[in-house]
Amino acid sequence: MEPLSWGEIVLRILGLLTPVWIGLVATIALSIAFKRRLGLYGKLFDSPIGMVGFGLVMFWVFTAIFGAMDLIVTHDALSQSASMKNEPPGTPYSKLIGDPDPDAYPFYLLGGDNLGRDVFSRVVDGAWIVIQIAPLATLFAFMVGITLGLPAAYYGGRLDTFLSFLANLILAFPVILLFYLLVTPEIVATGIPSYMAAVMFVFPILFATVLLNSRYHTRPSVRTPVLAAVIAVLGWLYLSLISERAGALEVLPSWLDLFDIPGGILVVFVSVVFVNSPTVFRIVRGIAMDIKTRDYVAAAQTRGEGAWYIMLWEILPNARGPLIVDFCLRVGYTTILLGTLGFFGLGLPPESPDWGSTINEGRKLLSIYLHPALPPALALLSLVLGLNLLADGLREESLRD
């Protein structure tokens, strides 16, 4: 078979991404149709920058999801082929030299890497890793940052001094050093990441409990069942998350343990949360300091509301604008961090298709072969760019009123 020309490659990729285009068009069309009723999200569609950003981000989200559903990927991202090593984009696929496989997709659209794996499929699969970890890790960082930042700002005094000192301590730590110290097999063996996870993952439960209790404590008949249900569900998830079979923490018997997170992923997750939390803490604290001087906070105090009600229901909702903007930026930053980890081969398994690891492998032969390193690099660039543009659009729109 003849190798594909560049035009054919582009056409085939665009064709493979059909589900993504459908998803994108549907989302954007629906959003624009109802934009006046969608609040800040709707207003995003008034800003060209925000729209471009949103489009880029959603492109990767759909690619990741449909990729994981096996609608896009052409070859297994891990399977190697001796005949495809470093082959340029558009090369016809064969498992071994001169042995075309009639069942498989006939081409490596973006070529093969140094082990003969399909670059295109790896980029798509890598998207799924990022889309799973980055927003979730950022969300956890926000939980931690919010749960600590609000009281620091609200109570001030020694609590604030202490927490701020801790935050500055972590911020003064060079991130890369922290990763090197935390994300090594030896440290994983000691179980420290598991303990850290055990501490950090409590925050969402604390957060939800306090949130609901402060709101409904005047109505025990509503409060008690709701709270019990929420704590039960979250608690179970929490225990399943932290307990590992034959790991450092074996809390749940295995028949109750819903899932196990591989140690490598867990430690990556924990480190990323750990690195992001202090910054979120500082942002939340700054905004809360400002909002707490408002009269509606004083009004809540004069009717005898509890401190947590004020923090979570009077202050937090009014801080949401800047926090949402920062969330987008931070997901981008987390994506970069994940890439850094992959680039240094920390945490994730070496054959993992995540973009950082792929760039790292590709760079070794960079002066001769560009195609293994460039696609993941551009993928990462476009996702983070999209997130930044989205954040910019959101910021602009939320400042408008």
């Binding site: 008034d46 005094g157 020694r158 001094t161 202490f162 000192f165 005047t218 109505r219 408002r294 009269d295 509606y296 004083a298 009004a299 809540a300 105090q301 004069t302 009717r303 005898g304 509301e305 509890g306 229901w313 009077e314 909702p317 009014n318 949401r320 009123d401």
Partner: protein, 694 residues
Amino acid sequence: MTAWDDDGPILEIENLSISFFTRAGEIPAVMDFSCTVRPGEAMGLVGESGCGKSTVALGVMQDLGVNGRIVSGSIRFKGRDLNEMSADELRRIRGREIAMIYQEPMASLNPAMRVGRQLMEVPMIHEGVSEKEARARALEVVADVKLPDPERILRSYPHQLSGGQQQRIVIAMALMAHPSLLILDEPTTALDVTVEAAVVELVKDLGKKYGTSMLFISHNLGLILETCDRICVMYSGEAVETGSIWDVFDRMRHPYTQALFRSIPLPGADKNARPLVAVPGNFPLPHERPPGCNFGPRCDYFVDGRCDGQEIPMVPVAGDDRHESRCVRVDEIDWDAPPEAGARHAATEPGDVVLRMDDLKKYYEVAANSLFGGGESKVIKANESISFEARESETLAIVGESGCGKSTFAKVLLGLETATDGEITLDNRSIGDVPIGRRDTKTVSDVQMVFQNPFDTLNPSMTVGRQIVRALEIFGVGETEAGRRARMLELLDLVKLPREFADRMPRQLSGGQKQRVGIARAFAGGARIVVADEPVSALDVSVQAAVTDLLMELQRTENTTLLFISHDLSIVRYLADRVAVMYLGHIVETGTTEQIFAPPYHPYTEALLSAVPVADTRVQKKSVVLEGDVPSAMDPPPGCPFQTRCRWKHKVPGNRCETELPPYRDLSDGHRSLCWLDDAELAAMEPVIRTAAE
């Protein structure tokens, strides 16, 4: 600037229209505005916020920002059209020929540049003088604006000066190049009344001394009366009436002007016998103005077909000098008819004492640094021996300038802070050292508060209804969600808001409406004592009366004790039964309203009375101008707290004022004053405000 004869007007604005172009479309901010300022004349521009006053000023300065544009009309300065000048020509005029002063002095000064530099810049740019000469000039002008120690002031950064001093620097900067026109946009709104009085005095004097014409913008009619020769009243982007001060104040010929005067408390108004007449409705937003007369929907004289038929032109008022009005019915309305008597009420009799404060003290300790490195702490004496009692259904006003401890006192009463010393008793229960967290629901719901800033008083991300329901929940009112919702709707009725507002977000409400919601929330638990901290001072003049009215009506029906905190003696005189005047943490004088407003005064009360501008041409005030600023509560003066600014001090033998804290003296029944002055001196005091016989 040659082709200009000295007798022509300095500034001539003709049919000026200015629009802002936003995404929502064109917003006309000023329409068909004309006015003339002659040499040496002071023109007052008065109107509520958002009516376009500042836009006119910025239009004159040709500085409307990226989205503002002059749509039509001309602005001639000394005969030359500013609209047609090049950027370079404009730059030569700005600062040299026309100078501008705005509301926030701190914001108008560059925080990272020494005051001296900012002043010297003006002559250096415009006249190319040397640094040395510029400095000499700056010194001179700083002395002119009566700032002490000009050398030191020139070396300071703006943040090292007090608000009053900063505003004087801004004025000095404007006068550096001896401009022929000075535009002042609410120059004293951010200042305390006594400081305001001094600044206004200064502006008037300097205006005379330099022969500068002025365009003085304010929402305060009293201030305009004190400073200007002519006035132009604006409403919703248009000038509605213009003329000499005397014509407009005494023979007004526009229904809006009339309504405005009837809604502000002037001496003689009385909440029971002669209540204020509130202007109904709200100020229209620029994009929802009615057809025809903008004031139509709120006007008592509105006639279908004529008032909303066509654009209403300005028409001269027969017989007066350059007096014009934008009303089609000028000649038909009987301008001398007395206002329709509002609902009169019998004065309520105060009941039992519900709240008693006894020698309350509140000190704050501020530490230099908390965790690392210690540092000695300082004590701020926010409240010193506050004693008074308040009865049921009574309105007790607490008067004083910012920083005198009014808000601290409210915080202690509400339990947000605990008293350092002293006693607060509510119905014989001591609550002075019970923080709000440990108060029972009854106590909490009994003592509630209405806040000052309407834009801050409601949580922006919760519906109006939800916020009231939450208060009901907390106060334990109602058994079920449905019961509470029903009660919430009743509360909305009570504060005269439509029930649909329950599901609105606060941003969809106007300032006055938000304030009503705040009042509903405060009364949700059947409050018996309501602390109202300047509840109307941030509202537009025309809605102030309505909100005040509402507060008093609720007070009457609920037999509430109202603690009305304010700096504005006019409104206090109108609605208070008793008054306590505070200065630097002390109550310096208490008594019934009549006692406070008639001599003998405490020297501070006297100054305060004289400082409050009164919008009534018949009133003659004795001028008592206070020097300097309120001392910092961090190091108060020894002896009498007022001794640094008191003009009576020398009448007290020895230097007791400077060494010993004076005792509370009973002047007549219940009238007490914190002063060393003896009876003879007190008896010799003259009234500050005198109304000329009608």
